[in-house]
Subunit: 429 residues, 2 copies
Amino acid sequence: PYQRQVYDLFLPESLREDLQKRSEATRQVLPSQPGVQLPNLQHYHSLVPLDTKLRSTASTFGLPSWVFKATSRKNGNTFCLRRIEGFRLTNEEAIKAVNSWKKITHPNIVTTIEAFTTRDFNDSSLVFVHSYHPLSKTLSEHHFATNRFGRPAPVSERVLWSYLVQLASALKAIHKAKLAARCIDINKVILTEKNRVRLGACSILDVLNFEASRRIEELQQEDFYSLGRLILSIATNTPPRNLADPRPALEQLGRTYSPELKERISWLLSTPQNVATKTAEHLVYDLAQHMDETLVASFNTQDEVTAHLGRELENGRLVRLMAKLGTINERPEFDNDPNWAETSERYTLKLFRDYVFHQVDAQGNPVVDLGHIISCLNKLDAGIDERIYLTSRDHQSTFVVSYKELKKQVQSAFSDLLKGANKPQANRY
Amino acid sequence: PYQRQVYDLFLPESLREDLQKRSEATRQVLPSQPGVQLPNLQHYHSLVPLDTKLRSTASTFGLPSWVFKATSRKNGNTFCLRRIEGFRLTNEEAIKAVNSWKKITHPNIVTTIEAFTTRDFNDSSLVFVHSYHPLSKTLSEHHFATNRFGRPAPVSERVLWSYLVQLASALKAIHKAKLAARCIDINKVILTEKNRVRLGACSILDVLNFEASRRIEELQQEDFYSLGRLILSIATNTPPRNLADPRPALEQLGRTYSPELKERISWLLSTPQNVATKTAEHLVYDLAQHMDETLVASFNTQDEVTAHLGRELENGRLVRLMAKLGTINERPEFDNDPNWAETSERYTLKLFRDYVFHQVDAQGNPVVDLGHIISCLNKLDAGIDERIYLTSRDHQSTFVVSYKELKKQVQSAFSDLLKGANKPQANRY
Ligand SMILES: Nc1ncnc2c1ncn2[C@@H]1O[C@H](COP(=O)(O)OP(=O)(O)OP(=O)(O)O)[C@@H](O)[C@H]1O
Ligand SMILES: Nc1ncnc2c1ncn2[C@@H]1O[C@H](COP(=O)(O)OP(=O)(O)OP(=O)(O)O)[C@@H](O)[C@H]1O
Ligand SMILES: [Mg+2]
Ligand SMILES: [Mg+2]
């Protein structure tokens, strides 16, 4: 069990790389350029633009908007800020519309944190703070990106059902809170992990269109229409502006996908005259079998990530153990202290350090083997009964010691160190 | 961004402890006792009994059964073995019934690996190999355990719905494969993580009762009945043997839980005369709103575990970096080599090592601070521009170096080491 291989100890390269890229994206800051300087907004600093387009289409909000990553001075966390350019707040009540949104936390909705006005861009701007999902893309960026043949990749029916299930679940939570999403737009739904979608711009239209307020029931019915149009647009690779009459696209969809999918989208697109008032519960019923598929996929992912986490946890233990060994060995201030002399247990630990890190072969060449290091440290951490031979540097003496004894010696040497230490923080080890 | 606090770097204690306990349970072996010795079964060795009861009730299989953890010599993985005591296989075809089960992988079904007969227990036994889920409990062990007042904890309706959703999903997969579960029993469904249930003894009755084979449709209909009885038994804290007439228990359930739950269980318990043939799809459809809740919970858990994993990954990088530093510093075989002399870059790295691990305060007392160590190593790993002062051990000279330069020096010293090394395995670092 302590013979675990190195390739086993670490994550499969793809998931590792993916998480590493996300963490780098989160930490990334702009190189300071003279002249160009983004302002700090309240306690949000280190703004980095996230927009990939040079111009904002202004289609969703009626005004251009800009998206930034920023760090909060309050807690060091990273957030997503959206600036609505040139909006003058005339009614203080309007901005309170975000309060109901703050309470909505759902895995398919980007959480709204707060909103405020600012003059820091030298105009009147409105800023919405949302939770930040590193390296996300809008569905438009993801599905309408063209490859070198100028064609987007076809979308599998499974993925379309999964989007429908996730957004239906989001709508159910939103409508239950007596709100409407209003932003089910191919530019405003973001893909944050493999196949996970989140509504990305909630609360914004509630503030911007506060004066022209419309009945919530009407807006909720529109959400269903927008959802139908979104899926139809992706399935048939048609920009939403060309879907004023959705019938030709529905026909096209019927040729590639199942009748069931066509039926579901037709229902979403149907006008209220033709069907009774639509409800999210009704939609969830209709999607039940696909919800089951999505649930199975989610459970499987969860199990896989948990298994990886269990393995990485072992690394966490080894970090702390190496840090401990590092603080014990070769401390200069004890160089002439007989209690830390080369005859005591610290001498054993020094030879053990050589055994772990400084292996040589019969010819005296260094052997550099991470597997050996990890395996020794795991055994030390477990304090097992296995014995090893340690040889002094002058090769004059050899003795046998068990990992169990070594573990005790590390603990005692480390606690000696803490006794003499300034502000000991042993609980962190 | 490199100032991350220590408490932030590691997992919340509960999840960490939970995963640690699971990993210990997986690795645990029996202390060797003279006289008592469990046999090896084919390539499965190191058997550890998992049964918590001294006697097996023989109720599910008609024969006593015993559960063990074992390690496979083929791949080092751990499996769960169930021995059916005193079963003589008369028809070779019977054991092939497991083949259809091997193909079923589902997050709410314990996977069947294989089955074989053995005489290693000095009788005729049949052994089923399943995937192993450390520290799982049967639903009976979990829900019928009494506290010190002799009363089990009441079960929330949310948990009951979640069980129903998960087992309906399992049934859907099983029935679709033209199989029947046959083991929806309070002793045979196991709880493997918080609120996750898995059918734990699939395929066994297909082999044991091969001769007395019954129509699959009939067995599938029985699955629904068993599921209803299982939930009713947990909800009302009634052992299944007292549910021959379920009506009093259903009445009792109606007083504590919603009419919807009562209706769902009544449907499951109703006899085929009263309703059309039941299907798992129908059940999934009826459970749609609760499936949505379970999906939201699963997505949230997945997000949480992924966030933890991202943080632990940083530890993985630090393990490798410390291992590298460990191989470079104080190598005895280069003690007299002028190229590794104290004037070269290795001298800088040695002083850096002192700076990281051997801090002292103004009075010369050791400062032991894991936060300092982690922060230095993170900066080294990132190779940032920040400069630090390094002082020689005799305090005679001080010089300034950036993490960027230090990172280069580590790389160059390490590649020098690999040049002289036997079987270099640099790709592992
Ligand atoms: N919460 C978020 N976290 C991280 N990135 C986000 C978040 N919300 C949006 N983004 C990213 O910011 C970029 C710009 O988003 P935006 O909504 O402006 O899209 P757009 O295509 O530029 O639309 P528009 O034309 O309306 O400006 C996209 O790549 C998107 O994935
Ligand atoms: N696949 C598995 N992985 C890990 N542990 C398991 C697995 N299957 C069962 N167990 C555990 O083994 C123990 C014994 O299981 P078993 O099915 O024998 O229950 P039981 O209550 O003893 O029932 P019976 O009376 O039929 O023997 C239980 O604690 C159960 O959680
Ligand atoms: Mg934009
Ligand atoms: Mg048992």
